[in-house]
Symmetry: C2
Subunit: 156 residues, 2 copies
Amino acid sequence: MDPATAIQPAPVLETHLGYWVRLVSNHVSGAFARELQEQGLSVAEWVALNQIGKGATVTPAGLADAMGMTRGAISKVLDKLQSKGLISRATSQEDNRVQLLALTRQGKRALPELTTIADGNDEYFFGALDANERATLRALLKKLANIHQMHNIPVD
Amino acid sequence: MDPATAIQPAPVLETHLGYWVRLVSNHVSGAFARELQEQGLSVAEWVALNQIGKGATVTPAGLADAMGMTRGAISKVLDKLQSKGLISRATSQEDNRVQLLALTRQGKRALPELTTIADGNDEYFFGALDANERATLRALLKKLANIHQMHNIPVD
DNA sequence: TATTGTTATACTCTATAACTATA
DNA sequence: TATAGTTATAGAGTATAACAATA
């Protein structure tokens, strides 16, 4: 469409900082989600994979808490990761109700490439800012996250 | 869960500025979406309502372009707004294929209250920053939006 | 009884594609 | 033929709730 005749956002929308945060967030995350999709993964699957690969003990309940999702939803995410051969589930010896999650050899092999994609996406979008600007942006966002106690790892 | 034992994000995630943008965005937009839900509206419906109330000529195709959605999806959003009595559709005199969208009296009455909710949500989250910090954050985000030509009004 | 995890079900949102009416 | 809009269909994603196994 001719940019001159394209509909512009209603003025009230642009006055909100939330508008600009969401605009940038959607573009950055949308581009990343599309790159992940080419690898056959959703963002939720990628986050879960990272958490499981972190080293510490990870269970479905812990993932659900960390990612702000229900256990039912996490269970499906884990089904997909397992069907793709990236993770394994094993019953805990200490408590037979608990499932311990771990990367398979294939999962360990896949993670670095995915990290490279994530790094590249972040660099592509935020490389437009110089080091000072990036540090300032990070500090402001962390301040907001801290003040409002934002803890869930964003997934969608 | 005990914060000391809660799963923390994998270090690689927090290194990305995209992580922090998404974290803040999800909290701000999530809180707003829940407030809208109490009014029986989705975010997409609220955005469309604002665009239609802006004054200029608005059509389904124009909304679809502005909001980055397909015409089919927009059609459903408009169905909902119309069924709630907030908008009207009228065939254009100049081109009978075109539908001109307008707020009903009820829609005009509803908009200010919704704007108050949106203003309050933004103030709640970003009021934690002083005027200088808010201006800095806005400038950085607008710079990113400009450089990467981010135009779609964020909806989800 | 409480908790972990899975499964069954339903709902929301959106895209794709087929279709109608008009140009 | 091309365009505006709607409708039909399907898929992804997630929540709720019922369920099974274990504590």
